[in-house]
Amino acid sequence: MSHGQQPILDPVLAPPFPQAALPMLRDSQLRKNVAHATDVIQAKRARLVAEKPDWQALRSAAARIKDEALENLGAYLEQFEEQCTARGGVVHWAADAAEARAIILGILREENASEVIKIKTMTSAEIQLNPHLDAAGVKVFETDLAEIILQLGELEPSHIVAPALHVNRSQVREIFARTMGLSDLTDDPHALTAAARHYLRRKFLEVPTAISGANFLIAETGAVAIVESEGNGRMCLTLPRTLITLAGIEKVVPRYSDLEVMLQVLARSATGERMNPYTSLWTGVTPGDGPTRFHVVLLDNGRSAIRLSERERQTLRCIRCGACMNACPVYRQTGGHAYGSIYPGPIGAILTPQLTGLKHAQSLPFASSLCGVCYEVCPVKINIPEILIDLRAQVTDQERGKAARFFDPMYLGMRVANLLFSRAWLFHAAQWKARIVLRIFTRKDGWIHSLPGIGAKWTQTRDLRGLPKQPFHSWWKQRKQASR
């Protein structure tokens, strides 16, 4: 990309959000691409929500369905396992990313698989599956158009539903022309899509092993559901001999009929459609139709810990629709890479740090102006602002005890401010003192144009009016005295 740096989508290694965001903000092409893409989906979503008189009722039901699943997650997972196994599926449990990778690699080794075709799944990126498969000598073929663009272009995803949203058509043309050897390729999206279709057709028909994610796991029947638009999902789910589905444990919903709610809110929120083109559901193994070997890898990787917190548990309701990041005014300016995680935007800001047990990505809960639009559009009513504030408190509590933080200007300043607010006379004295100090920075026009320290982050783009001579409380006191 034009800023020349490969983003690091690993919360352990990624730079803090303010630092990661800066080069993105200077990438005007990126900002334009992101604004365009999110505007399009938002407009479509808004139109469909407006036509649905029971939209709020659907949101309430969806939130409650997920809550029910989460409250009794263990029982529902056991039910799913029992049902899926009875239908010929093999269910595996992975406590963390390393275990999940080992299980998947183990299955591939058993299959003597040297190639796999993959349906887009953010969960596989969360466990960094592809690089590990590559290293183990298994060639991975992504089959989602966006994922192909990223894979061939050696780029990182920036959105959970439209991962290549930050890439425009001429960039795609360049990538395809170079890697597919198509020197005459134009940048017409039709031509680009046709190139991808052609590139994949043989792979679908020949590669015997596929890896997928899951949108929903149905406890009642042991079924798995996947929503998609292109049809590559259907290809991967039906043509190969072996299918491996990787799913976070929070993907469980209790009953088949719960999909009547979930499917209605997901498509409208994710792509602004009443229903996405293809939704597939399968249960274990069906002789004569589809894979003869089916594995489900249930992934914890920090989810069970999040579930323990009553206030934060709602994070796990997420159905990965991306509506929050489409609406987020911060994401609009920075794109997804600034979040340093496979999960960007508002949901990423609360999910990513929590998945690390708040050991990493501590800057993400602060990467928000708390405008609240994410909560407004979330189909499962996750109160993201409330969780952001709570995580800020948790991170601060973690940090403030450290010796290094005692003289950190932000920490010191906050403690001092609190002391000043505890007594009116202290507050008033501080106002008076501040006015005197700031007089140094106040120009003839009565405004401050430049401040040192943290104040410089204000004055880099904004002036600040000099402190008025008489605070309101003084004026009131004076007026009261005058009227006597």
């Binding site: 102006s369 509590d397 600040l464």
Partner: protein, 250 residues
């Protein structure tokens, strides 16, 4: 009608003219106004920056101070949102039952300015005269936190002589976000640039809102850029009459 005015820490320090305007406006409407001199801050800055214990102590102080107030009016929707959204949680976690009960009793008596005028005072036409072109910015806390709805528009619609120009992308955040404006100063500035485009596009003389926090952010950039537009809290517009036009500070 007796009202106790909570001016807010930043209005007291930075925008006393807004307070003066609130006083002029409410007294004109026959409200008996008082001002508790011991007031300081509602705790929002600390709460939203992760300093929960500190936010709690300020919240407690606020509740104790206003226990006996008939009504509390606050010319800042973000502060009212702090009280409504976060006080209960703070007292649940760090307070005791008595404090929680005191808060439950106080909460229904706390109003943002436009809420007070429309819901409690029952007025839309406050007798204001402001012969200028104005655009209204919907602060996020007012819009989503308090669900102010059309209250600001109903008030502005009755201001004589004023031309109200609609703002495109009205619901998009201006990028202030409290300490976000400095902790994520670059992103805040980018959001500001985008918002300012829409604001300037209106061709208004003034951009108004119910929160001076957003306005100091927008107005600070306008001033830096010699943009030719100024910001002004809605209280000052509503306080303005033919006899007493509002003071327009540099």
């Amino acid at each position: 009608m007796r009202v106790s005015l909570f001016i807010t820490c930043y209005n007291d320090t930075l925008f006393p003219e807004t307070g003066r305007a609130v006083v002029a406006l409410l007294e004109r409407l026959g409200v008996e106004l008082d001002f508790k001199p011991r007031q300081t801050c509602c705790g929002q800055m600390h709460a939203n920056t992760g300093f929960r214990a500190e936010a709690y102590s300020q919240a407690k102080r606020f509740v104790r101070l206003y226990q006996d107030a008939e009504n509390v009016v606050i010319p800042s929707s973000s502060c009212v949102a702090m009280i409504r959204d976060q006080y209960a949680g703070l007292f649940e976690e760090l307070g005791n039952e008595q404090l929680r009960s005191e808060f439950r009793s106080l909460a229904p008596r706390v109003y943002e300015l436009s809420e007070f005028l429309i819901d409690k005072q029952g007025v839309e036409d406050v007798g204001a005269y402001f012969p200028h072109r104005v655009t209204y910015h919907a602060s996020c806390h007012g819009l989503r936190g308090l669900n102010l709805g059309d209250r600001p528009f109903r008030l502005l619609g009755k201001v004589r002589g004023m031309e109200l120009v609609p703002l495109a992308n009205l619901e998009r955040c201006c990028g202030f976000g409290g300490t976000f404006s400095v902790k994520n100063g670059d992103v805040s500035s980018a959001m500001l640039a985008v918002k300012l485009e829409d604001v300037m596009e209106t061709g208004a003389e003034f951009c108004t809102a119910l929160d001076n926090s957003c306005l100091m952010h927008l107005g600070g950039a306008m001033h830096r850029q010699f943009a030719g537009m100024k910001t002004m809290h809605m209280a000052e517009i509503l306080a303005s009459t033919e006899q007493t036009p509002v003071e327009v500070l540099g």
